[in-house]
Amino acid sequence: MSWVLQGVSILGGPPTDVLVDGGVIAEIGAGLRGEQTLDAAGLVALPGLVDLHTHLREPGREDAETVETGTAAAALGGFTAVHAMANTDPVADTAGVVEQVFHLGRAAGHCDVAPVGAVTVGLRGTALAELGAMATSAARVRVFSDDGVCVSDAGLMRRALEYVKAFDGVVAQHAEEPSLTVGAQLHEGVVSAQLGLAGWPAVAEEAIIARDCLLAGHVGSRLHICHVSTAGSVELIRFAKARGIDVTAEVTPHHLLLTDASATGYDPVFKVNPPLRTRADVDAVRAGLADGTIDAVATDHAPHATEDKETEWAAARPGMLGLQTALPIVAGLGLAWSVIAERMSSAPARIGRLPGHGRPIAVGEPANLCLFDPAATWTVDGHALASRAHNTPYEGMTMTGAVVATFLRGEPTVLDGKLT
């Protein structure tokens, strides 16, 4: 089925028609015709968004999210590809598990699912998982991460960085020096002191980033830093990039928007790892995203069952939903559309080595697209989101900007803001 997107603004440019046919962008110009027409006046076309950091929870916690519901949320959020984190049960540390997740993604059909492989067996941080088997499996794993836990052993991290070079992989580090975060609940500072919650110090993140950048430089490997949350981390990555170290980094929408002051009422919906930081940190990660020190926005979409969040703070699991609110939050930061496209699509697709995603909107390119209405407003309701879980920190908040349509290889997965 061919589609004409009528009067769409490509990356904020002048209105034009875009003809999508045969899974690719067939023509761009005025007065185009197709079998179906979508009135896209006022809508901005972005390349389909790519998430480097999604927790789909399947296998293991299907009560919180499944590949089906999580990818539905992704499509509704404008994503055409997500990287499914490895901390499932069983852990995605074998070719069998990553292929299972990959095939579940195919079957659901809402967006592409690129499984992330665990770096170490069982995320235990002691022995390398069979990274090569995952890389050569049907899932073509390129991103490896023990996310949720840090690969804290420096020697093992060095070996992982080296080993994945053989198949152009990258290690995505959850930077958290564990001896500095025993029992940690909230960013260590004024708010944690007041609330009597054990502090999660910025230095626990920064120390690992510094170490791993030096390791990556030493062995000439690619390194990716998950969910950068502190001003110091941004400085360190800036320094490493200036030294020519091949490091990339992501930041989450919540670290771009929220601060540790949100924790004052002890509502665990605001509990996340790494924790929400201070206003100065928010300003620094925004600046880092704007100047390219931080390459990508990644959601760290982390669904949790109600009973894991309706509890006292210390007993709650860390993490929050993010897929359906990511683009409105980032669009509110005042970045150019071309920069948003780079940070939310092109860069994550490059880092994850996903051919066909994050491409320019140009004739002959794959028709992976997100159509966004920057003027629409809507109120966040956790129960109305597509995820099985409801743990959004933005409950009741008015968002400006809404995803109207998403196209995956020329076929709409979302039309009129609803799943097709």
Binding site: A193, Q194, L197, Y266, T311, E312, W313, A314
Partner: protein
């Protein structure tokens, strides 16, 4: 007053003084042979104790019973609480019982806040994790006022494990509200990062602080902190931060010594100090009942005066 007492910061200066004055009035009643008041007859007070604390639990029980409330105690041992029932389910049970007040002691900071979102009755924080213990601060302020005659301008040193102390947090907030001058004295490892934002001075040097102190409050130091390298040994802790007879002699003549209990005699406080005439430790226990009566009374019987309450109109 707010509906709940979750933090000492919930109390304005007028609220706090009202609690202290009401406690004084109720203490006078407690001295009579008939100790019971009918004020909270027909009201239900639930003591929900997730953490063993015999002294605080008994203090609240006695306080509620002296006001003629029906008292139900759920404690960590031998109830559904110990069998892993969630706080949410316990809250729903308390709601079904029709608890007018829930006195909550919990090992997790903020648990009483969480509970207060799920129950209609008043929630009183009886100590939550490493956060706060507001009724302890009220009874401490009551004791200070009773012994020294004032709170405004009173120089109070709080000594010990400030990082993990709910007593210290509540005392700092309440004493600042009441115009006292607080100095926290602690090894650097046991002061929270972020303490600069508190309305208190800090010092690492107990000997320098003692001569300028009207009230010295010794915090309990848990021996397991040593294992986590907060300090090298009990002996070294006692040498640098323990209050022994020699240090007590450096205090001004009228100064008093407080401890929220239970004490580690020989560690943060020497036996001869704990048992000296300066010590208010026994007073604190007695005052605890009066202050908790006042809190329950003010939260549950609202704006009426204690005299009206005596008519049983509540």
């Amino acid at each position: 007053m707010n509906r709940h007492l979750l933090s000492a910061a919930d109390l304005t200066r007028d609220d706090a003084l009202l609690v202290l004055d009401t406690a004084a009035e109720l203490a006078a009643v407690s001295d009579r042979s008939v100790k019971k008041l009918p004020t909270l007859r027909g009201r239900t007070v639930v003591n929900l104790f997730y953490e063993d604390s015999t002294r605080t639990r008994i203090s609240f029980e006695v306080a509620a019973k002296r006001l003629s409330a029906d008292v139900i105690t759920f404690s960590a041992k031998g109830s559904s609480v110990s069998k892993g029932e969630s706080l949410k389910d316990t809250a729903l049970t308390l709601q079904a019982i029709g608890a007018d007040a829930v006195v909550c002691r919990h090992h997790a900071s903020g648990a009483p806040h969480t509970l207060s979102r799920w129950v209609e009755g008043s929630v009183v924080n009886a100590g939550d994790g490493t956060h706060e213990h507001p009724t302890q601060a009220l009874l401490d302020a009551y004791t200070m006022r009773a012994r020294t005659g004032r709170l405004e301008g009173l120089r109070v040193a709080i000594v010990g494990d400030v990082l993990h102390s709910r007593v210290a947090r509540s005392n700092v907030l309440l004493l600042a509200t009441l115009g006292a001058e607080v100095t926290l004295v602690s090894p650097p490892t046991l002061l929270p990062l972020g303490v600069d934002a508190w309305p208190a001075e800090t010092s690492y040097d107990l000997d320098a602080v003692l001569p300028k102190t009207d009230v010295v409050m010794m915090l309990r130091v848990q021996r397991e902190r040593m294992g986590a390298a907060y300090f090298p040994s009990e002996r070294e802790y006692a040498r640098r931060y323990g209050l022994d007879a020699a240090r007590m002699a450096a205090l001004p003549d009228e100064a008093i010594v407080m401890h929220p209990g239970p004490m580690n005699r020989g560690m943060e406080i020497a036996a001869e100090v704990a048992d000296s005439v300066r010590s208010t430790i026994v007073d604190q226990v007695a005052n605890g009942v009066s202050v908790r009566m006042a809190v329950l009374y003010l939260l549950l019987a609202g704006g009426q005066t204690a005299d009206q309450g005596r008519g049983g109109a509540a």
